[in-house]
Amino acid sequence: MIEFITRRLLLLLPVLLLVSVISFSIIYISPGDTAENALTNPGGGIDQRAVEEFRAKTGLDDPIHIQYIHWMGRIIHGDLGKSYMTGEDVSKAIFRCFKVTLKLAVISMLVSLIIAIPLGILSALKKGTAIDDVCRFFALAGVSMPNFWQAYLLIIVFALTLKVLPSSGYGDGGIADILLPAITLGTGYAAVTMRLMRASMLDVMQQDYIRAARAKGVPEYMIVLKHALKNSLIPVVTVAGLNFGYLLNGSVIVETIFSWPGIGNLIVSSILSKDYPMIQGCVLFIAVIFVLINFAVDMSYAYLNPKIRYETKN
């Protein structure tokens, strides 16, 4: 196991390096000159002198590879630069927003587990029946539903018709404000988790100790609740808990709709305002988080299923 972990950790280094190159260079695909884009005022006019000064100040007149090296050098010291728009430290803004996103992600995950675990168990126990088909259809529908559409359906029902929940905004960050975005983000995720739960439950129900319990005459519901559930939950919770990437993806759209001041919202607004250091910082930060989470998921898979350790020599 230790050899496996070391090998995977070493493989992370070139990936992280490439990730940083992509995150850095992403802003250069924007047509036109970076400094001019950043300084173009809404009327379209550009002050050439200001552009020259800006270039010199931000190092944009250096060749790209030199800029990259400077950028990396600063990042190693935890400095992601300053926002062109607000002058705020990029790293500060990212951490502030990430905390808010994390809150949404955790609640969404709870929502998804509350939906996914009972349905997954039901689907597995009734495998091959109409109930299973219905559960699996809902799981598929859950993945297929655009979350930006679902969000507005929820707003129509809960905020505009029933008037029980606010339609958007962070408010005081309480449960009422978080509920609609969390349900939106959580249901799509629940669909993925439900399939995992079903598979895991099916796997456990075929084990010898379940057969032994049955032979002893333990009632079926006790078998499910006492013996099967605990064992089948381990991989589901591990993997679901770690698969934050899905939530990060969804947070971009959900946060924009519900004006949730998280990192998804931050990245959309910084792209719209061409706030380059902020875009680079956000993309890099999220990718690094994503890489580390995937690493943890891989490790937990390998831990739960020793076969992987030997099979994937790569």
């Binding site: 490439l18 990730v19 992403i26 695909i29 655009p146 099916l202 990245i267 959309v268 990718a287 994503f290």
Partner: protein, 277 residues
């Protein structure tokens, strides 16, 4: 690839039916649509569904049904362009990498890992946002995000196939690498890629609609499902039906592709994956 189609599978026929329906709407939009999708008429704005406008009209008085029919054109062509380009790109790179192995493989796989290291929608958003809005930019952004997954799958399938006896036999007979790859390797790695591409169609359509919804994709007045939702959202109080139908169209299309992908996987994979998956 022997197909064993189960007799009773209404879901399969339903999803294929939905897709054929949308494809026909896309192809013959001009004949089917009751009105011009881009013709605004402010006197008719925000009309509720009625006989003349079955799904109502939007804030500019445009027929929502016609816009959805024409919107199928955009969504399906984005899906087809992105998925076929990514598949070809990924298949080529992944096959070469898996077949030849060595340092080439190491480098290619690290690049693939790096692209897969980004949450896909986020990277697509960054690229599409910086490229600037527009149909081709949206397609490019989605290809950049999409190809790596196909490359990885192709590579791992090729690695498994190239150890098979028939490949060794072909090589033993002195067959050239290019011939072996084209005639023996690629046909044998296609099934998982076809499944991935089918499910990928749904995913790409969903992402494209999401980006257009955020304003980074196809721009108004072109009828596109995601941007229809974006334009309609301000009228959610007075005319909620504006928001219902474009979303339903997206969901049905994506659902059909997902279902088809799942069924194809069961058909193409001799093992019974339904239990584990």
């Amino acid at each position: 690839m022997k197909l064993r189609i189960k007799n009773k599978n209404p879901g399969l026929f339903l999803s294929a039916g939905i897709l054929i329906f949308f494809m026909l709407s896309a192809l013959f939009a001009g004949y089917i649509a009751p009105h011009d999708p881009e013709k605004a008429n402010l006197e008719l704005r925000l009309k509720e569904p009625c006989h003349e406008y079955p799904l109502g009209t939007d804030h500019l008085g445009r027929c929502i049904l016609s816009r959805i029919i024409f919107g199928a054109r955009v969504s399906l062509s984005v899906g087809l362009l992105v998925v076929s380009s990514s598949l070809i790109l990924g298949l080529t790179i992944g096959t070469l990498s898996g077949y030849y192995g060595g340092w080439l493989d190491e480098i290619v796989m690290r690049v693939v890992d790096a692209f897969l290291a980004f949450p896909s929608l986020l990277l697509a958003l960054g690229i599409a946002g910086l490229f600037g809005a527009g149909f081709m930019n949206l397609v490019m952004a989605l290809i950049i995000v999409d190809w790596a997954g196909y490359a990885r799958l192709a590579r791992s399938s090729v690695m498994a196939v190239k150890e098979q006896d028939y490949i060794k036999a072909a090589k033993g007979l002195g067959t050239g690498d290019i011939h072996v790859i084209l005639h023996h390797v690629i046909p044998n790695v296609m099934s998982p890629l076809i499944v991935m591409a089918t499910i990928g169609m749904g995913y790409v359509i969903l992402s494209a609609a999401g980006l257009s919804f955020l304003g980074f994709g196809v721009q108004p007045p072109t009828p596109e499902w995601g941007s229809m939702l974006n334009e309609g959202k301000i009228y959610i109080r007075s005319a909620p039906y504006i928001m219902i139908f474009p979303g339903l169209a997206i969901m049905l299309t994506v659902l059909a592709f997902n279902y088809l992908g799942d069924e194809l996987r069961d058909l193409l994979d001799p093992r019974d994956t339904k239990d584990i998956d």
